[in-house]
Amino acid sequence: MSTPHHPQLDRDGRLQHLLTLEGLPREILTSILDNAAPFLAVAEREIKKVPLLRGKSIFNLFFENSTRTRTTFEIAAKRLSADIVNLNISTSSTAKGESLLDTIDNLCAMHADMFVVRHASSGAPFLIARHLANIGRNDIHIVNAGDGRHAHPTQGLLDMYTIRHYKGGFEHLRVAIVGDILHSRVARSQIAALTTLGVPEIRVIGPGTLLPHDCARLGVRVYHDIREGLRDVDVVMMLRLQNERMNGALLPTPQEFFKVWGLTAEKLALAKPDAIVMHPGPLNRGVEIDSAVADSPQAVILPQVTFGIAVRMAVMSMLAA
């Protein structure tokens, strides 16, 4: 069977939802980054607001808790003058037995303009997008704020913004992604975006238990030895190691992980001298990254957070303004 029409684009190829960076045309990806730049200046003003989404209702639907990501979307929406409502659904209706799509129908009846969706299951925002199409609600837009292991497109975009900001472009870069690739929606979105933007060499570094089987299928070079993998790279993208993966079948201990794959100054020295170090946060100091590196001038972790607000403003305004 042929691949169906991509559910995040409308019939004219414009962005209807932001569900994934995989298959997102390069022009759209680049235009999101371009549109983010002016929003950075908004935050520097005395009145940190623009009226682009005035009167629009945005629902933060977090079926999985994440205070940090939810907050960044909330700030972005408020700076665009939208009305934003936070719903922590893991503790509300679905816990009472209401199905995901019943929840969506209820919110549609409240005249929502946009859903920002975080869900523990891969593909959940696609299910919602299909449902909205089936009930003819093409006026409602979805931003995927992270679905299971699948995608975290706004994180991927803010990472691309950060790289472009510090490195000027993509087509000359060697980029390494370190840690738990297997369970990481961030890594999948990063790999998709880096590939689309023309990065010639993407490396992934980690133990066999944290890499997808036959990982090279994702279009990356696989390294188990971090020293070998970091050699001469321009960008080091660290991933967060989830607590539940640290002890047991996937890894023996966090101590061993840090010893073998944790980013220290000594290992970072193998990368290019001007290499930048990124991390999606929150940091596990002493597990995936040493404090000396996290606080070094090469780390751009806090600028990532700042850029993240601007990128989310760009996405929301492109969808709903």
């Binding site: 069977m1 691949t3 299951s121 959940a124 679905d147 292991r149 699948h150 089987h213």
Partner: protein
């Protein structure tokens, strides 16, 4: 009723018949092929000009959802679906609620099915009590109640010592044990083939080794015990050499694949289409192609529907939370014809996979062929017709199929059970 089916192309793989011939039916049995018996007065005639007259289809795996899951489907709704699909004999796996581990339960099911007077049912009893993989079920009693074989459905036995005992006990009586190979730990959290699609979509994977490891274990234990074995629903190319080698060593082992694995692969999941959430999972393209070739070569004996009605709500969930399974009773013939057409398989060969071969696996002399004197179960279809697959046209209570919206080749025109016309449709 004395019935004449006139001018049809009779295809009966068991008797190597493929020619234009009339079929005469009296008292629910095949009375004659070709010329009418001497004292035969036709009471009803079906003009089968341009149609194929074949044995009623035999489906090795159809979940009718009774008892216990009547909100998904009922015996009545799915018997209608069987008739619409030309399926006149079907095996019912034991994964009902409660499972088919009690003779009384099996008797009741057989009684209910008989009262409905449609397809013949062949219950497959639970191999262990409650399908829990701990204690042997009463296989002799269950057989007396009507069970034709024993299986764990899709719930593998974790403890190999228990598996060994079930095979030893079954072989005492010569019962055939059906196994769907899947390592319980390697399949536990997975929902998709450990391949490119699962890697991209971030779906919990199931490695091909989950099937081959379990298959190897089952074959070793079956060989040790001399148990007769049927392997249900293969999904991996790498399983085929294991079957081949077991047969070369003289083992009595048969196997089937289902219609979904004959036509689809992991890429059909597309953007998380839960209709493609199946167990076993859809594998790589190369697996699908190898299974097709093995079915054509007869290495895989039979094609089944693996019919599993699932209510809409259980599919309208994120992929890994959705319930696995797809319906197939009404698609078995069209998808066999589609395969025959795409791979240039002769029609008698294709039909043998859904009539004669599954009947042999069921050890049934009465199904799957049209010999004079046997039960008159027939499927009369238009090979040039079309079966549109829509929510409206499907008879099954379940509408869960990856083929929704497609038009498939072939059209069942009459379904006859024991000489009674149980289903008829217009061209």
């Amino acid at each position: 009723m004395k019935l004449r089916i006139a001018h049809g192309r009779l295809i009966d793989p068991a008797n190597h018949i493929d020619r234009i011939a009339d079929v005469f039916i009296a008292d629910g049995l095949i009375a004659a092929i070709g010329d009418a018996p001497a004292d035969f007065t036709v009471e009803r005639e079906i003009d089968a000009t341009g149609l194929i007259v074949a044995p009623g289809l035999v489906d090795l795996c159809a979940r009718l959802r009774e008892p216990g899951n009547e909100y998904r489907a009922t015996l009545e709704s799915e018997m209608h679906a069987a008739m619409a699909g030309g399926v006149t004999s079907l095996a019912i796996p034991p994964d009902t609620d409660p499972p088919l581990d009690e003779p009384g339960l099996v008797e009741m099911l057989c009684h209910r099915a008989k009262k409905l007077n449609r397809a013949h049912i062949y219950p497959v009893g639970a191999l262990t009590v409650g399908l829990r993989g701990e204690r042997l079920s009463e296989m002799a009693e269950l057989t007396a109640a009507g069970c034709v074989a024993f299986s764990q459905a899709s719930r593998p036995i974790t403890n190999n010592a228990v598996l060994l005992r079930t095979l030893q006990y079954a072989s005492t009586f010569g019962f055939r044990v059906w196994c769907q190979p899947g390592d319980p730990y390697l399949t536990r959290d997975g929902v998709a083939h450990d391949g490119e699609v699962a890697a991209h979509l971030g779906l919990p994977p199931i490695a091909a080794a989950a099937e081959t490891i379990a298959l190897y274990t089952i074959l070793q234990l079956a060989e040790h015990t001399g148990a007769r074995l049927h392997i249900a629903h293969l999904s991996c190319a790498s399983s085929l050499p294991l079957i081949r080698e077991a047969r070369a060593r003289g083992m009595d082992v048969t196997c089937d694949i289902d219609i979904h694995h004959l036509h689809l692969d992991e890429s059909d999941i597309g953007y998380f289409d839960t209709h493609c959430h199946l167990a076993p999972p859809l594998r790589a393209r190369a697996d699908r192609d190898a299974l097709r070739a093995a079915l054509a070569a007869g290495e895989i004996d039979a094609l089944c529907s693996n019919h599993a009605p699932v209510n809409d709500e259980a599919k309208a969930l994120p992929f890994n939370e959705s319930e696995a399974g797809a319906i197939g009773l009404e698609l078995l013939l069209p998808l066999a014809l589609k395969w025959a057409r795409e791979d240039s398989i002769a029609l008698p060969e294709a039909l043998a996979r859904i009539t004669l071969a599954p009947a042999r696996i069921l050890d049934s002399q009465r199904a799957g062929h049209l010999s004079v004197g046997t039960r008159a179960d027939l499927c009369i279809f238009d090979a040039e017709g079309h079966t549109p697959v829509t929510r409206e046209t499907l008879t099954s209570n379940g509408k869960n199929t990856p083929f929704l919206g497609q038009t498939l080749p072939g059209k069942v025109r009459y379904t006859i059970v024991e000489g009674q016309i149980m289903y008829a449709s217009d061209a």
